[in-house]
């Protein structure tokens, strides 16, 4: 018997410039909390969260990446194996929006070909400071045929919806494949680890 608590396991990735709110989005989604202090992520971290979609329990393993420029070459090596990627920009920061194109290129180069993508314009609670219009976001999303949503980790706008939609898109895609093949065996592969210098002792 011992049925698993979840039917599927999806690995998702959050990318985007530093300070756009990736960590906050994840924190809001996993812990339903928000903090204004900015501690820039220096590495790659993940959290898990189980959601239910179409009667299926789906365990999401969501990876939060460092957005700082100097880590880009390293972080791209974590793209492989991701089934869904959230590209996040900050609606009050034009530069972060312009960089979306760069992030998309990174995905093309380093992620699985069939990865599901979604663009999030975060911090939509800061309407007075907005420099990127919603239309601009929609346009770029349309150009690349990607889902788009404006979110706020602070005001808890669209956070859950965004993840559910991304997961749903992956679910629809996986559902098309052989039904007998349990998707929960999909291994969440990390990048290759040490081979040259073998472990201690």
């Amino acid at each position: 018997m011992a049925k698993k608590t979840y039917d599927l396991l999806f690995k998702l990735l959050l990318i985007g410039d530093s300070g756009v709110g990736k960590t906050c989005i994840l924190f809001r989604f996993s812990d339903d909390a928000f903090t204004t202090t900015f501690i820039s992520t220096i590495g790659i971290d993940f959290k898990i969260k189980t959601i239910e979609l179409r009667g299926k329990k789906i365990k999401l393993q969501i990876w939060d990446t460092a957005g700082q420029e100097r880590f880009h070459t390293i972080t791209t090596s974590y793209y492989r194996g991701a089934m869904g990627i959230m590209l996040v920009y900050d609606i009050t920061d034009m530069k972060s929006f312009e960089n979306i194109v760069k992030w998309l290129r990174n995905i093309d180069e380093h992620a699985n070909e069939d990865v599901e993508k979604m663009i999030l314009g975060n911090k939509c609670d800061k309407a007075d400071k907005r420099t990127v219009s919603k239309e601009q976001g929609e346009t770029i999303a349309r150009e690349h045929s990607i889902r788009f949503m404006e979110t706020s980790a602070k005001a808890n706008v669209n956070i859950e919806r965004a993840f559910n939609e991304l997961a749903e898109a992956i679910l629809l895609k996986t559902a098309g494949k052989e039904p007998g093949d349990p998707v929960d065996r999909v291994t969440v592969d990390r990048r290759p680890t040490n081979t040259s210098k073998s472990c201690c002792n």
Binding site: G43, I74, K197, C200
Partner: protein, 850 residues
């Protein structure tokens, strides 16, 4: 507290000194380890002066009545090494496994879920919590360890500890635990999302004595005013033919089923849930149509205990189901016949229980929340003659008669149907009647009447409202019996259930996230002071375990790189394991009580510059097994040095390297400025110094100088100084070797090494290589060194060097390998090559600098 519980507690307490207080006990504990016999155990939590210990006691009786019934099996101190956990039992919803871990010891106990277990577990957890705040002493346990029945089982003095359970979580095995956790907690919280709803259950049993159905059954099945919600109707002896017995095939099954279907209460419609039949035993379970959608996990099984202990003439048939959130099991049995065979009947009962397996969880009869046991149990009235029984019946002396009933007697003794309840019997014995009459057996045998046909139950929330026989069904020598129950069924409130379920999932996600390995690093950016040639600097970063589980860390290489760090850095240690602080996990509420004093690990990051760099920069990836990766940035500016610079550059500058303006340096680097010296200024200074002061020094190149001395000489050369040479002559010699070893390119370019070695036996060839293949400035340096060495050899008697020794010493430096220090011994080929230039006249080779 149950009375039994209290009694036993007193007895357990008597086993200890009065200052050693038994805080909590748990009865009926069974170990899961096969190697240990399955005695009845009692767990006792005992406190003495704020220190707690868990005692595993073996009880020689199920209910010990004196301290001699108890013996100490294991003593486990509740201290920092102690932990407890629970796991679900696969085949039973009513039991959990209570796991005690102490260092290497792991014991698992099967206990029933209930108030007792949850009280006990929370007491144990509390005691563990206590032990973290106090520094308990366990000397008082010594006297018990001596009395342990098998002390070797758990050697508490064992020092080697392994955090078993914690580790498993860290390895991502949580998804398995999650499932059992979810089930366990859903069951615990059942009351929150279910409500008890009363269902009427009609249970009937009839031994039909091989007769086909000829009369309607409505007088029996539809006896009550209102239709029941569920029927469970059992028959015995529906077919006594050889065919039925041997092939278990009978047309009667369908016939009786049809009569049952037709005989049920007319005010409701019923749907068949399950039909189980074995030879003459048949059980039909039907449910009111409106409840059918809430019936699930239906399963049937049959057990033969008849001829050869397995044939179906005797035994039991069962149907199990879940109605809403309550598991129900109906067992219809026909036990061994004959007055004196009551022990055989007891055995049949046990066999049915042992062998009936519904192949669905729960699998065993006993693990259902409600069990209804019916059938021809065949227990008789003993010690009374037929006449006596009949007389007592006429006088309605039921008490006397029921006392003589074997079932009551055997049940009383705990031999059968333990923990089952039966309603008061007010009806006449249902066996044995003359056919088509209400007269007890008038045949020759004149068997004494008996209550062979019975209905019992076990489980919570079952209330019997009627228990009777139905005299007017007269086709058999037995009368049918029926019981009507009002039973509490847990009905799930889907909205509340969803909420509880979601909450649990959330909590488990939280739990899982919190149980990921977590560490913090005190700095993610390591900046070195100005990095100088051969002046190692180290920085320490501290990795602290801030999580709940041991953290296994390792610096891993980035994609496309060959090592986890650059060659100028050393990481010590580059992997390791850091234990967490003391944490407590209260499995009742998912509350994490933290007492974090996580262990730390200092990692030394040492830079050592031995090659030419302006700046050192790298991002290290610190990986946690099953967890996150952290980046650590190491960087530092490097100081220019003549060491590690190219010969071709040094020959183009006329001042110490630190005095060279940036522009000039760049031009020289690009070889765009003119050559100022035929050999680097620094080389000349070193050799000149030795030439003047060291030619007669014995073992000049063999003593190693102080590190600071080398550094001083390095700075003297790089910054330029009017001060005298700042070191001993031996230091000068060693610096010379160092200088030549670290020039950006070796004096003889790498690509010529093989050619040189091949030519070593022929001086002319060697000379040709030097004159034609080696670049001008390198050739100058080479010949300059060789001339110096020839000069040195003139003082052979003083300094003790011969050409062979110098050739091998310098061969490895002038023709140094690309990979530093790959082999310690000198290369004979290289030495031979150099040797040529130490013993031949070089005057013809020297070409003046342009």
């Amino acid at each position: 507290m149950l009375a039994v519980h209290r009694d036993v507690l007193n007895i357990v307490q008597a086993k200890f000194l009065s200052a050693e207080i038994v805080r909590s006990i748990h009865l009926n504990v069974f170990t899961l380890e096969e190697v240990w016999s399955n005695e009845n155990r009692i767990l006792a939590l005992v406190e003495y002066n704020k220190s707690f210990a868990l005692f595993v006691l073996i009880a020689s009786k199920q209910k010990p009545t004196s301290i001699s019934d108890l013996s100490v099996e294991t003593v486990i101190p509740v201290d920092e090494f102690f932990s407890c956990d629970t796991e679900l039992v696969e085949e039973s919803q009513n039991h959990i496994i209570f796991i005690i871990t102490y260092k290497k010891i792991k014991r698992a106990f099967k206990i029933e879920i209930g108030l007792e277990s949850s009280n006990f577990a929370s007491e144990v957890i509390r005691s563990k919590e206590h032990s973290l705040y106090n520094k308990p002493s366990f000397v008082w346990l010594d006297k018990y360890i001596g009395t342990m029945s098998q002390p070797s089982r758990s050697d508490v003095s064992e020092q080697d500890d392994l955090p078993i359970t914690r580790h498993q979580i860290a390895q991502g095995q949580t998804s398995i635990n999650r499932e059992s956790m979810l089930k366990y907690h859903l069951k615990l919280k059942e009351a929150e999302y279910t409500q008890k709803q009363e269902f009427t259950i009609f249970v009937g049993t009839w031994n039909v004595n091989g007769q086909p159905p000829t009369i309607p059954l409505s007088n029996w099945l539809a006896f009550d005013d209102n239709p029941p919600d569920l029927y469970a109707i059992g028959f015995q002896e529906i077919d006594l033919s050889k065919e039925a017995f041997l092939f278990n095939d009978t047309p009667r099954e369908a016939e009786w089923h049809k009569f049952v279907t037709e005989g049920v209460h007319p005010k409701a419609k019923y749907k068949l849930v399950g039909l189980a039949r074995l030879v003459g035993m048949q059980l039909v379970v039907m449910v009111n149509n409106k409840h059918y959608p809430y019936v699930k996990n239906i399963s049937v099984d049959t057990v033969g205990t008849g001829l050869l202990g397995k044939m179906g003439n005797k035994g039991g048939v069962g149907v199990r189901l879940e109605l809403h959130n309550t598991s129900l099991c109906f067992v219809n049995c026909h036990l061994a016949a004959h007055v004196e065979e009551f022990e055989r009947r007891n055995q049949d009962y046990k066999d049915i229980n042992a062998r009936m397996n519904f192949r669905k969880s729960p699998q065993a009869i006993k693990d259902h929340e409600q069990i209804y046991w019916l059938g021809d149990l065949n227990y008789r009235i003993t010690e009374l003659t037929t006449t006596q029984v009949k007389t007592l019946l006429l006088r309605n002396e039921m008490v006397t008669l029921l006392k003589a009933d074997q079932l009551n007697q055997q049940k009383e003794r705990g031999n059968v149907l333990l923990d089952y309840e039966e309603g008061d019997i007010s009806f006449k014995p249902t066996y044995k009647y003359d056919l088509h009459s209400d007269t007890f057996d008038t045949s020759e045998k004149a068997r004494p009447p008996a209550w062979t046909d019975r209905i019992l139950w076990r489980g919570r929330g079952i209330y019997q409202v009627a228990y009777r026989s139905h005299m007017n069904l007269r086709i058999s020598d037995h009368k049918p019996v029926s019981a009507l129950f009002k039973s509490e069924i847990s009905v799930i409130d889907p909205i509340k259930y969803r909420k509880v379920h979601e909450d649990l999932i959330k909590k488990m996600d939280k739990f899982e996230n919190e149980y990921l390995p977590q560490v913090t690093v005190d700095q993610t950016e390591v900046v070195y002071d100005l990095i100088k040639f051969r002046e190692p600097q180290s920085r320490e970063i501290t990795i602290a375990n801030t999580g709940m589980v041991p953290a296994e860390f390792e610096f891993i290489k980035k994609l496309d790189e060959t090592s986890y760090c650059k060659d100028w850095l050393r990481i010590i240690p580059y992997c390791g394991n850091i234990n967490p602080g003391n944490t407590l996990y209260d499995f009742d509420y998912f509350v994490l009580n933290l007492l974090i004093v996580g262990e730390k690990c200092d990692v030394k990051l040492e830079v050592n510059l031995e090659t030419d760099h302006q700046k050192l920069y790298d991002i290290l990836v610190l990986h946690l097994k099953d967890g996150k990766d952290m980046f650590i940035i190491v960087s530092g500016e490097c100081q220019k040095s003549s060491f590690t610079s190219p010969i071709s550059l040094l020959c183009r500058i006329s001042v110490p390297v630190m005095q060279v303006p940036e522009e000039q340096w760049k031009l020289a680097e690009k070889l765009e400025s003119s050559v100022r010296y035929s050999v680097p200024r620094e080389l000349w200074l070193l050799i000149d110094h030795i030439y003047r002061h060291g030619m007669k020094i014995r073992d000049l190149f063999e003593s190693s100088a102080l590190h600071e001395e080398i550094i001083r000489i390095r700075d003297w050369l790089d910054f330029g100084s009017l001060d005298p040479f700042p070191g001993t002559i031996q230091a000068a010699a060693e610096t010379l070797l160092l200088f030549l070893s670290y020039t950006k390119d070796p004096v003889i370019p790498y690509e010529l090494h093989d050619t040189c070695i091949a030519a070593a036996s022929n001086y002319q060839h060697c000379k040709q290589i030097i004159l034609q293949k080696v670049p001008d400035l390198h050739r100058n340096v080479f010949l300059y060194i060789c001339l110096f060495l020839q000069e040195l050899l003139k003082y052979q008697n003083d300094n003790g060097y011969d050409a062979k020794t110098l050739a091998s010493l310098f061969g490895d430096i002038l023709l140094r390998d690309q990979i530093r220090n790959s082999k310690p011994q000198a290369s004979r080929g290289k030495a031979n090559f150099i040797y040529n230039f130490l013993v031949n006249d070089l005057s013809t080779s020297i070409i003046p600098a342009k």
